[in-house]
Symmetry: C2
Subunit: 264 residues, 2 copies
């Protein structure tokens, strides 16, 4: 916990296959959820292609702009795995075969199979610290505030879980979500007044269609619990004043859609 | 079809709820797939928060850099729906109540319910063209090369399908995908040679774990069909030369993970 300062992060999803539509990214939502739990505010995410200049420029822009940068993808053995060399270039350092990484690969891959392509997975920017990979050994790495992880979800998660305790979060943002069957357009005006009265609380409106019914989740988010609870109580009162029934809901990811006005 | 020129696009997913992890984006993969089919290359995607300066700056950076910009999210009736006013600011134009948009809302929402909040959905940047919304009427809009759509997946898709025929794609990128049970590290060296021989074909390597078995999909992508077929045949020959069996597969999105080396 880093005092009152907001701690920011950016996620870089690296891979042509996500941009072509071949693969649906399965990392961003998980990562966003973990960071929120740890008091780290994900300010932006970018999906970028396996193109040297784009990766180098994006890493340099984002590492200057955010407290943490987390990358996924592009650290395997094939020619299109260029994340490590691009991060080295972004930092202006050499990429070198890391003995510790070689030892990890040797512990997992028999000697006759440890060819040059697989050894490439031990090429790490000079000065970087390795990030452990309990699944398939080939490590990620951390270079200053940039954390380079695999794109395979199970490996990315294991890597993140391994270094997670070393991250320094800010005040943890808490949430209270109140659902109603009233339409967005019905609550909008009162909701805006509530937001104006509580500028330090982020009041969001997320319509959904669930079990054959339309509704809207009104989500209050803040690191100030007292302000948060007052705001949520005002949201409940607003719903009641409009003839609705406020329903507190837990904030488990419901994959509901974003903005919807039924005109109801 | 725009001659031989690559036509580029950027997707902007606008919404705090995606960055907090509350909502998993369900638009990017669909949009990427459609654009690829239409010969438009999605070069980048960004998830950005409901923050005026960030939206304005990102829209301006991306509309200068890419042929098309597609935004999703933030065009509903509540105070946190600020995409339209931000796009107006990015273009340096006023936002104004659009009579055509008002008529659309009036056709769908009864007069006693058409309050000021809902009418806000008819506030459109001056000079923009409306994008139809067959689901709930509240329109999106197009301002030069920027297409502003709803965040709700069903509405976003309906909006895109409505203007899709007006987009001008470049040469359509075709794909051939060949799967093998060989490991990535085994095919990597030969695959790199194939990529070097065919610089205009994008050769990607995507490991997967399916039906209890590891394998890798080797995907060749190019708008030059002859070059593509030669490359794919070389990939099949490489697999055979390493003792594997090449299996042609169709390119339906399999949600498989990205990079994986089993060390097998």
């Amino acid at each position: 916990m880093n005092g009152d300062k907001t701690v920011t992060a950016c996620a870089l999803i690296i891979g042509n296959e996500v941009l072509s539509g071949r693969t649906a990214d399965a990392n961003l939502n998980w990562l966003a959820t973990q960071l929120t739990e740890d008091g780290i505010t994900l300010k932006e995410a970018r999906v970028i292609p396996d193109v040297v200049d784009v990766i180098v420029d994006t890493v340099n822009e984002c590492r200057a702009k955010f407290d943490y940068v987390f990358t996924t993808g592009g650290i395997g053995p094939t020619h299109d795995d260029i994340t490590a060399s691009c991060v080295a270039r972004a930092f202006g350092v050499e990429i070198e075969r890391n003995p510790e990484a070689v030892a990890l690969l040797e512990s997992f891959i028999s000697k006759d199979r440890l060819n040059e392509a697989r050894l490439k997975m031990a090429d790490i920017p000079a000065g970087a610290e390795l990030i452990g990979n309990p699944v398939s050994k080939a490590p990620g790495f951390k270079m200053e505030n940039v954390y380079v992880m695999a794109g395979v979800p199970s490996i990315m998660r294991a890597m993140f879980d391994g270094f997670r305790h070393t991250l320094t979060g800010g005040p943890k943002v808490q949430s209270i979500s109140v659902a109603t069957m009233l339409a967005e357009g019905t609550v909008a005006s009162g909701l805006s007044d509530i937001q104006d009265r509580h500028p330090k609380v982020d009041v969001g409106s997320y319509p959904y269609f669930r079990d054959g019914k339309f509704g809207v989740s009104l989500v209050c988010r803040s690191s100030d619990v007292a302000d948060l609870e007052t705001t949520a109580e005002e949201v409940r009162a607003l719903i009641r004043s409009l003839g609705g029934v406020p329903l507190d809901e837990d904030l488990a990811n419901d994959n509901s859609s974003d903005k919807f006005d039924t005109g109801d």
